[in-house]
Amino acid sequence: MRAELPLHAPGTQLDRGYIGQSTPRANAQRLLQGRGAYVDDLRFPRLAHVAFLRSPYAHARIKKLDFAKAAKQKGVIAVFDGPTVAEYCTPWVAVLSHLKGIKSPPQHAIAVGRACWQGEAVAAVVAESRTQAEDAAQLIEAQWEELPVVTDMEAALRGDVVIHEDLKDNVCFSRSLDTGGVDDAFAKADVVVEETYHFGRHTGVCLEGRSILADYNAAEHSLTVYHSTQAPHMMQDIFARHLNIPEANVRVICKDVGGSFGIKVHVYPDEMATAAISVILRRPVKFAADRLESFLSDIHAREHRVKVRLAARKTGEILAFDLDDLTAIGPYSVYPRTSGIEGNQVVNLTGGPYKHQQYRAKMNVVFTNKNVTCQYRAVGHPIAVALTEAIVDRAAQELKMDPAEFRRKNLIPDDAYPYTFPSGLKFEKLSHHAALDLLLKKMEYPALRAEQSRLRKDGIYRGIGLAAMIEVTNPSPAFYGVGGARISAQDGATLRLEPSGMVTVMCSVTEQGQGTEGIFAQIAASAVGVTVDKVKVITGDTGITPYGGGTWASRGAGIGGEAVLLAGRALRANILDLAARILSLDKGELDILNNEVVNRLTLESKLPLSEVGRVGYFRPDTLPMDFQSELTVTRHYTPRQYGFTFTNGIQASYVELDPDTGMVKLLKHWCVEDAGTIINPLLVDEQIRGGVVQGIGAALFEECVYGPDGQLLNGNMADYLVPMAGEMPDIFCFHLETPTKQSQLGAKGVGEAGTAGAPGAVMNAINDALAPLGARVTAMPFTPERILSALKKV
C-alpha cells in the first residue's frame, strides 16, 4: 500500500513530486571530489591542539601528576589536570527520572583523583601541533596506586568489589516487568526451551574519528564549536550549562561528519575538556581522536548475557517469554541519554513480533572498569531480536516445525492493529505477515531448502536463518524528554523562497551521509512545486536552523521530513497569496509546478517563481497596501500519538559453514522492511545494506576483548576485525509501505533496521547449518574458535 500524500490542493492533477524517487544526493559531489569539510580539515588562526594522557590502568588512584618536564617542551602552550579543568567545566550525572532507580556517580571532563577505565583521560597537553602535544604527553610523570578491577559482569553484580563506594553496589539500573501468568504459561506448555546467549562488547569504528574544534571568543563571551556530532542543539545546551556561557552565545556547527551511528550523539569528557580549554586559553582548540584512542574511549556497546525461556504449545503457539538480562557498562552512565537505555530496550522489545500475552523480564545494568557504553545503532534491538529469533528457532526445532511456519503461526496478524504488546508498547500498524510472505517469495525459500538438503548429502553445510523484527523509530519525548533530558523530540524546518526563485531549506535534523539533506530537498521541492535542483539545504548549525533534536533513533525522515513538508506547503500557500496579488487572480485558480506559478487545472504557466521573488522582495510598492508577503516560513513537528513509531521487517541470511575450519561464508542476505512512506528508495536500500553489514560485523567479527586486568587487548584496526568488502554478501532489499497516520508524509524511520535484524538472521543461519552436526552456538561473535568448540573439534 503506498502512501497518499496530499501534497497539493485536492482535485489537482499533480503527483507526489519527488517522493518515492531515487534522486541522487547533491551533497555527494563534494565528497566525491575530496572537497568535504570535516572538522580536521578546518583551518583557524592560532589553532591549538590537544592530546590527552590516558590512564594505563583500568582502576587507579592518581597519586601525582608532574607536568614540569612536559610544560617545557617545544610548542607546548599549557598542561591541565582534572581539577583545573573542573573550575571551568562542571561535572554531570547521567540519570533520567523515568528510569526508576538509575544511579551513576558524577563524571568530570578530565578525571579527578581516580581513573576508572583504561583510556580515561587524566591530563591534557595543549600545543602548537598534535605531534608536539604527544611528545610532551610522554614526558608527564604520573604516579598511580592501582585499585581492584571489576571486569566480569557476574562478579560486578555480586558486588565483591564495589567500584564507587558511595553507591554501595555496582548496579547502575535494574528493571523488572511481569504481566502475570507466566509461571502458569510455562506449567501448561507442551514445550519449554531455554538458552543463554552472550553478546560480545563491540564499538562503532566511525572512519572519521571523533573531532571537535572549540573557539571561545572572550570579547563576546561566546563559544563556537565545530563538532563531529549528531545533535548540535543538545550539545549547545550542554556547553552552555556546563561551561556557564549563555545559551544563545553558543553556536554548534556540523559540517561534514564522517560516520556516526550513534557513537557521536553522546557527551565525551575529552570533548568537553577541549571546549573548556578553549575558554581557559581564549583561542581555538582542536581535538581529533586518533584510532587507538577511539578504541579506548569511543562508547562501546552491547555486552550482554541473556537467559531466555520460551513456552509453547505443541501446535506451535508461543505462550510466554521469560527473560533475564545482565549487561556490563563502563564505570559511568553516559551523559545525557544514560547507559540504561540499551538494557531497557531489550526488556521492551524481546518477543516483539509475536502475539503471546505473557511476559516476564528481569534486567540489571552493572558498572565495570571497562570503557563506557551507550547507545549505538539500533540500541538493544540487535540483542532483543537475536535472542528472540534464536529461541523461536529452538522451539521450532523442538517441535520439528519449519522455522518460517512456526513464525507464521505466531506473528501478530496484519489486521490486529492498533495493538498493545505485553511490555506495554503500542503498535499503530505493522505488516509482519505480508513481510514474511514477500521474503519467502523473494528468497525462493522452498528452493533454497531443497538446495540445502541436496548439498548436505555432499557434506556441504548451508544454513538459512530468519529474523523477524520490530523497530523503534520517530520517538516522541517518551524516550528522553519525560525523564528530564534537554533532548528535543521535535524538529523544525525553515523554508525561504530566494529572489531568484530558488528555495533554501534550513532544518534541525542533521546529516552524516545517510542522505538527510537529499530527502529534505526532495520533500521541499515536492511540497513547494519547484524542481529539486532549485533547492539548497542547510543542516547542522544552531545559529541558522530552527531548534531540534538532530539525528538519532531513526527520526530524520519521519520528523524532520514532516517539518519540511509542513513548511513547504505553507510556503507554497504564501507564494500563491503573493502570486494571486501580482496576477490579480483568485488564489484558488493557481498552483506551482516546475518553478512556475500555473493555472491549477490547465497547468498553463502564469509567472515564473523568479518573478514572484523579484516583486516580493524588490517591488512590494506594486502590491496592495494591506499586503505583506511572507516568503520565509517555519514549521515544527512532534510525533504525539504514539510514544514510538514502530516499523517491522524480516531478514534472512544464507550461509555456508566449513565444519573443518569453523569459517562461515555469507552467500546472500535479504531484508524486507516496512518503514512507511519511502522518500528515496535508493537511500533507504543503502541505509539497510550498511546497517546489515554492521550487524554482520557483530555476528561474526567484532569484539572488544579485555584482559582480566581491564586492559583492552585488541584496540587497533589489525586486531579488531571490522567487515571488509571481501567477505560481505550481496544484500537484497524489498519494501512494503504502511504509512503512519501521525504525519502527512507517513514516513517511519529505517536507518537502524539493517543492524537490528542482521545478527539474529546470521546466528540462526549458522545454527541451521550446524544442526545436522548436533552443534549450536550462542556467543557472538561466532568466531571459528567458538564454532569448532561447539563442534567438539577443539
Binding site: 566525491l32 572512519l207 586518533d290 542522505g515 545494506r689 546489515v692 571488509m724
Partner: protein, 156 residues
Amino acid sequence: MERDLEITLTVNGSEVTRRVAARVHLVDFLREELGLTGSHVGCEHGVCGACTVRVDGDIVRGCLMLAVQANGRKVETIEGLTDSRELAALQKAFYERNALQCGFCTPGMLMAAQDLVRKGGKASREEIRAHISGNYCRCTGYQAIVDAIEKVMNER
C-alpha cells in the same frame, strides 16, 4: 643526517619544495603543509585505506610513507585526479549509485577503484571485492561501491 629535510616533489602536476621533519608521513604532509585535505587519516597504521594516494603511478598508503620518501616523486591525490578528470567515470557512477554516504572513505576508495579500472578489461564482482578489500567503509556495506565499479568496467 638531519631531522628536517628539504624535499622537492611533484604534487598533482605542480612542483613543490618544502622543508619537512623526517617523521611526518605523506598524508599529513599533503593535508597540513599543502592544504590537500581530500585524503583522509583513518588509522595511521595502514589498515583502513582512507589515506590512499598515488605515488609514481602506484597506489600507496599515505600514512605508511614518510614525506621525505616522496622526494623526487610524482604524487597524485583525489584533488588532482578530479581536476584531470581521470576519475570522472567512477565519480559519476558512485554519484548515481549512491556508492558513498559520509564520504570519508571515498577518496581512498576511488583511488583504489581507479587502480583496478585502469588495468583495463572486465572484473567479476569477486575480483572487485578483493581489490577494494583493503578500504574500510562503515556506511555502505560495500555493495553499492561494487555495483558502481562494475558498471564502469563493464560499460567501457
